[in-house]
């Protein structure tokens, strides 16, 4: 597995990005994220990253973008850059041991993932 310095910008990872198909936004692809990391741009876009986008099946140089994104999230948190949803999740895990908050509320009927 390789770091973003091995990214050759070929764009093969576009085929793996479900979000790209809906939004058309290059920054959501592994190539987009690799470019931002190479340039040292820290942005909330690293929080938008569903599982199918972090496993890059097609990458010719084996860039492990999920690991790189994890490091960026660490940096974001260190720099106090968070999304509300992320903050709430962390607080819930600390307080209730799960990301949804108190189960006492009983307002969660079904959970899909």
């Amino acid at each position: 597995m390789a770091g973003v310095d091995k990214c050759i910008l070929c764009g093969k990872c576009r085929a793996d990005s479900a979000l790209l198909r809906v939004t058309g936004k290059e920054m959501l692809t592994a190539r987009g994220k690799a470019l931002l990391i190479m340039k040292g741009i820290l942005d909330k876009v690293f929080y938008i990253d569903p599982l199918n986008d972090v496993t890059v099946r097609s990458c010719p140089t084996n860039v492990e973008i999920s690991e790189e994104v994890r490091k960026q999230r660490e940096r974001l948190v260190e720099n106090g850059i968070e999304t509300k949803a992320n903050r709430r999740m962390i607080d819930n895990i600390r307080e209730f041991g799960n990301p949804y908050g108190s189960l006492e509320k009983k307002d969660i009927k079904e959970v899909y993932s």
């Binding site: 050759i8 910008l9 070929c10 093969k12 198909r21 470019l35």
Partner: protein
């Protein structure tokens, strides 16, 4: 140039001048860096029309972009507005002999709806390249020997030229790398799916044997693809260190007829770029070499230990390099052997110094007619 005009036209969600977007649209698969001023995600032809007129008034540079997988810097901006066509990805009509698509349709998405029909231009990156980008580059695929290139399958192209005129053209606008206008709609020929297919893989130890087999295969009308892998490429790809010819036939002349096995053989061929790239051979060239000098060219690659593969059946090869500096010597050799630099994957920024004067002149004339203000993909090709 303010973003408000664009926001009012296309909505805030379809335009951005944020640093994250400007950064990721500043380059393409060529790895050349430019400067992107704004990105617009194209959704409607009427918006694009307004944008072209606005660009004309304000002397902006517009860069049409599909998947940005071209290898020559065709989508690299120069303080430009990049128009990303990824969201214009509808297949509008499918009949028994043609299909109408928006430019952002990905080739494999088209392939998946064709059922008993077939679109024969199948480049290696079919999972990512868009039809608009394929028209821009005049893409070619594995079956060029029999089916030709993109321009041979284009019936109509609707385009807004640099004057702001929305018109329908024939294939004369194919391969112009976005320097004439924004393509908004495409009508492509399709053909019947080939049911009777087969393959062979030939392995050799001597280059002379490869060349005589290639000559024999070229004159065989049943043969639709001849792909070559040289010793250095085979070694890096983890294959037995021999020369390979991967051949597909229309008909049952080949020994491999099982579709899964054929898929496996093509998979090996398609993975060659991956294997070379993971060994740092990331820069791919695409020279066309005249038949009489093909042997000399292959021996040259061999003495220099340059890994190489590609559609030898049409005299095109893909030598790969780990360093751009080394490519200069290759270019000298191609020119000495009266070959063509940049024969299949576009000219863009990288190869414009090598485009022949006759073609340049032809393009300049078209540009004067269709984009006299030079607002389309500034600095590319000519």
């Amino acid at each position: 140039m303010s973003i408000t005009w664009f926001e009012n036209l296309v909505g805030k969600e379809n335009v951005s001048d944020e640093i994250v977007d400007r950064e990721v649209y500043s380059t393409d698969a060529s790895q050349i860096k430019g400067k992107c001023d704004k990105v617009v995600w194209a959704t409607e032809v009427k918006h694009l029309h307004q944008i072209v007129l606005y660009a004309k008034r304000n002397k902006l540079d517009l860069i049409p972009r599909g998947a940005g997988t071209n290898l020559v810097g065709s989508c690299v901006p120069d303080n430009s507005v990049v128009i990303d066509f990824s969201k214009m990805n509808k297949i509008i009509a499918l009949t028994s002999n043609y299909v109408v698509v928006e430019p952002g349709v990905i080739l494999d998405d088209l392939n998946s709806v064709l059922r008993d029909k077939f679109f024969p231009i199948q480049p290696e990156d079919s999972s990512t390249c868009t039809i608009g980008g394929m028209i821009g580059i005049n893409s070619s695929g594995f079956y060029e020997k029999k089916y030709g290139r993109m321009k041979d399958w284009v019936l109509e192209v609707e385009m807004i030229d640099g004057n702001g005129r929305l018109k329908t053209y024939d294939s004369k606008v194919v391969g112009k790398e976005g320097i004439l206008g924004l393509i908004t709609n495409i009508k492509l020929k399709i053909t019947d799916k080939i049911d009777e297919r087969s393959m062979n893989v030939f392995k050799y130890d001597k280059l002379n044997d490869v060349l005589s087999k290639v000559n024999e295969l070229k004159s065989n009308q049943e043969v639709i693809a001849i792909e070559f892998i040289n010793l250095d490429a085979a070694k890096l790809a983890g294959l037995e260190e021999r020369y390979y010819l991967i051949v597909e036939y229309h008909g049952f002349e080949g020994g491999v007829r099982d579709l899964n096995e054929m898929g496996r053989l093509w998979h090996i061929r398609k993975k060659i770029f991956h294997k070379l790239a993971s060994n740092s051979y990331v820069y791919l060239e695409d020279p066309l070499i005249p038949q009489e000098n093909l042997a000399e060219f292959l021996y040259y690659l061999e003495t220099k230990n340059i890994p190489c593969y590609g559609p030898i059946g049409i005299n095109v090869l893909y030598p790969c390099f780990s360093n751009r500096e080394e490519i200069k010597e290759l270019y000298d050799t191609i020119l000495r052997l009266r070959g063509v630099i940049g024969s299949r994957q576009g000219i863009g920024l990288l190869k414009k110094n090598y485009l022949n004067e006759v073609m340049k002149e032809e393009l300049r004339n078209l540009k004067e007619q269709m984009d006299p203000m030079h607002i389309m993909n500034k600095g590319k090709v000519i």
